[in-house]
Symmetry: C2
Subunit: 198 residues, 2 copies
């Protein structure tokens, strides 16, 4: 447990390198496919190494998901410039690209979060909360009145966005740009339908 | 396997009676809580009876979910009279009431559908598809142009509705009537935001 890492990399660097490998695998594999065998085969990560840095496979998967969630939040950060809808458009382009590039992993995260896995659900819920809270915080144009009704609707919009990207990946039907515009346009349309002060 | 039912009820009636009991339990329990022991304790349903009529517990749970999905479709049937939004309002009131009355079971169905359980997922997907298809079929006011973009958006709206009802059950924030109006108003608002012919 206290054996020193074998390379000259610091412990943090080595851990981070392993995570990078995990996140790359996560792009094209579901979480359940990220097994000890797969890690050993494709990335040369052994059971002992996983145990040393992450306490085991489950800890490694959780760390990978946590990193993927952090990446998602970074990738969807709205720019400082522009009006609310322009900034949302950039943010949603980042969201669609992220899901597109990490489809298998993202799908398994959504799935894992909805199923009984409590630690995955917590990471997923926190990421979602961060994304929706940010909408209210960065809403300098007062697109969204901060009421319980609007909070409920924005959470609904977030589920709509997820459903639409996953549906688009599975069945297509529109171009990427059309998808981004549909998701982006949905938010002000929904906000406009809330009775004022409601 | 071929033993006759002990009462004078026909085989179909007896099966249907067992399902009724299951659906009542489903209202206040998650699927995973519907065990052989619980069934025996609360409804006098034995392992042998389950095996005889449903091939076992999993078959019984699946039949319960199938009945619950059929109930949901019936409960949300829009009336014949009224314009599109009025009919949708009645339908959504039925939806909110159904989820409210069957919260534990519904939540476990959503959860089970998203997790790896293929047969639950199939029932859930079919129910959702029926509900969204019906929106297009009953759209005599041409609220929804039948394009790939609109189909994608209506599926998104369906996810929004589910998220909002479950969020409302978990956290409240608005009255039942406000919730029904928010979900109902969301659909024409979203439809109006789709570029025509897009």
């Amino acid at each position: 447990m206290t054996t020193a890492p074998r390379t000259r990399l610091s412990s943090d660097e080595r851990r981070s390198q392993l995570l990078d490998l995990g996140v790359r695998l996560f792009a094209t594999r579901s979480l359940s496919e990220i097994s000890i065998d797969l890690l050993a085969e494709t990335a040369g990560i052994s059971r002992g190494l996983l145990y040393h840095y992450f306490g085991g496979l489950a800890g490694f998967q959780e760390a990978v998901v946590r990193r993927a969630a952090a990446d998602l939040i970074t990738r969807t950060a709205p720019p400082v410039e522009g009006d609310a809808v322009e900034r949302l458009l950039v943010s949603m382009r980042g969201y669609v690209d992220f899901v597109d590039e990490n489809y298998e992993g993202y799908l398994s995260l959504v799935t894992g979060a909805r199923s009984g896995n409590e630690s995955l659900r917590a990471i997923y819920d926190e990421a979602r909360r961060t994304l929706t809270d940010r909408l209210f915080e960065s809403d300098t144009d007062h697109l969204l009145e901060d009421t319980p009704a609007m909070r409920l609707l924005v959470h609904g919009w977030s589920a709509l966005a997820e459903e639409m990207v996953l549906g688009w990946k599975a069945r297509g039907g529109v171009t990427r740009d059309e998808l981004v515009e549909l998701i982006t346009g949905a938010l002000p349309a929904l906000a406009g339908a809330v009775p004022s002060g409601g």
